[in-house]
Subunit: 348 residues, 2 copies
DNA sequence: CACAGTTTCGGAAACGTTTCCAACACCTCC
DNA sequence: GGAGGTGTTGGAAACGTTTCCGAAACTGTG
């Protein structure tokens, strides 16, 4: 009999149960059923219990389409990212997913690169009748695109990016750069290089955040102002390696290197190894991120809590949807993690 | 005047335009408007053009909720993954997203770990009225869970995983292991170790695919059968490093190591470095995946096209939705990429 | 018991699209 | 001209839920 009941239940899943079925079985109206299932006031506790039990027995799930059409809310959030296979975005998504899931929201993913996809997304905003809110992650959106986005008529929060006309979450990017460069200065380095990252998909990339901290420190702390020490390359370990090779080919190589991200730092480390040099004996390297591989590589780095950024961004969006107050701008601190790739400069 | 037109358009986006508005402006009925917008037959070309132009001028987008409620199709695909921040899943998602986007489908992301989330997902199948199909990626689903999934009444395709009662895409996992171990054998290695990966979230992890190829090769090719040479650890660079340390602590360390994935291999490489040893001079290392960092690390590895798996899986699902024939099981080949971490065993 | 206030309940309209089928228009052939 | 076939069009019903508002039931007080 147990086997037969299981089969009946399976068959019932295939034939979707509607609220009308639940109402009939519970002996109440559609309106009462809806109120009971949606935890709305105006239902006697005993009636509510009965309806919930009948719904459970029928394995009833609401029709999201009918619910949205009638009540307006989609209970879906769009997450817009420029890349999927890079660590940062996967990590943010972990935080976002957990928070949305906990609140009963679904996550719709939009990977928006360049060209037709991007034009289509920002021009017509096709997502606007599909979601209640949008989380924009690390998209180098132009001011026009940002403004366009606000016309969607949905809540927007940005993470991991730049100033925008909607609430944002980010790390103290400038502070992170500051921590890294100060660490090197305090070790005694004066000829310090930076390998900065540019987004291969962005049309321009102003000197801001981490890079700005570096250029400012050069002036304030009397560091070597050699422009050759400021390298800007597309992010990837390989480009980091190539930039490090260019730095090692200078008449006077730097004694320390600040890399925009751990991925660039990893590439730089391997160029150093291949050149027969070592950290921190011959040259110091510090990254930013604390990527999972950094601990294994013993890389000194500035840690940012990427997952927390995702959680916070989602939290802020949900608060906005619930009509609660939103902080317009939340900045997470970063923390210097000293490992084995930084030390005092070599004498002479 | 140009500024004023732009503002009118922006205001119009905020107030959603419905199909009734388009029909009225085009001077046709709702039925004709729907046919024209959906590329259905039974509309005169001139009428269709007129409707399309009016829709474009009004920046009309359909109400997905009304469309789904009326026509049944959601045009959404669920992608179910056990992790988000690991490279493999980001890479698969890139391929999936591109293919779904091209076909006009939206991607809904479900990260299903362990515990309540997982029970909820597989038990009640809440996604079943939300999507037209499901792509299951790298989920170590039990047979009961797989069977349960088929009761959703939607198309299902799996990628990067195991045998299932629905179409699947994977690499030739066994072949990949074979390529790696053969490469080492052909270099002359006989005392070969394997660092195998287990999913920290799975309750069991049978010796299959790559690991099976290793254990079979030991018997067929007369390799050293020492059971200490078969290490199984949770995937991560750190666990790879620890397993490598255990192997180096043996009375007679292996002359070569096959790692289940490049991440494990990277960890192993660093233990080797820290022990003052080098590849391939002292010991050979081969991984599987061709992770982006592997080229930079000069790691010999077996390459799998992860993004192509995503594309294929999505393609197969869309074909199923379109009523086309689906191959029940598609296997992608892998390719050995020889770099600098493998060489002949040291003499003596 | 009567009255007032509160809680619960149910019917019907609304939401915005899709699609079936009847009606009409047009064309071709005998 | 009439018959038959083809293409186009439009009205109405359906989809499954939510919510407004009137009616009924219940509770407490004098």
């Amino acid at each position: 009999m147990a086997k037969r009941t299981k089969n009946d239940e399976l068959a019932q899943l295939a034939r979707n149960v509607n609220m009308a079925d639940v109402a009939r079985a519970a002996g109440v109206s559609m309106a009462t059923t809806s109120r009971a299932l949606n935890d709305q006031p105006g239902v006697a506790p005993a009636t509510r219990e009965r309806v919930l039990e009948v719904a459970r027995q029928h394995a009833y799930v609401v029709s999201p389409a009918a619910s949205t059409l009638s009540g307006g809310a989609t209970r879906r959030i769009a997450v817009v990212v420029p890349h999927l296979s890079r660590w940062f975005f996967g990590e943010v998504l972990e935080g976002i997913d957990a928070t949305l899931r906990g609140a009963g929201y679904d996550l719709m993913l939009y990977r928006v690169g360049e060209g037709a996809d991007r034009d289509s997304f920002f021009e017509l905003l096709p997502a606007r009748r599909k979601v209640d809110g949008v989380l924009v992650v690390g998209i180098p959106a132009s001011e026009a695109e940002q403004e366009r986005l606000t016309t969607m008529g949905v809540q927007i929060v940005a993470a991991g990016g730049q100033v925008a006309p909607y609430p944002t979450v980010s790390i103290d990017d400038h502070g992170a750069g500051r921590q890294a460069v100060n660490h090197l200065v305090n070790l005694g380095h004066r000829r310090i290089a930076m390998i900065d990252a540019i987004d291969p998909n962005a049309s321009h990339w102003p000197v801001a955040g981490r890079a700005l901290a570096f250029t400012e420190a050069r002036e304030e702390r009397d560091l070597d102002p050699d422009p050759e020490l400021f390298q800007r390359v597309p992010w990837s370990a390989r480009h980091g390696a190539e930039a490090m090779a260019a730095l090692l080919a200078l008449d006077e190589p730097p004694t320390a290197v600040l890399a925009h991200s751990d991925e660039l730092a990893i590439g730089a480390l391997h160029t150093i190894r291949r050149a027969g040099l070592d950290t921190p004996r011959d040259i110091s390297v510090v990254g930013i991120d604390d990527h999972p591989l950094s601990e294994e590589l013993d890389l000194t780095t500035v840690r940012q809590d990427v997952r927390e950024q995702g959680r916070l961004a989602a939290r802020m969006l949900l608060d906005g949807l619930a009509g609660l107050d939103q902080a317009p701008w939340t900045v997470l601190p970063t923390r210097l993690v000293i490992r084995g790739t930084t030390g005092r400069p070599r004498q002479g």
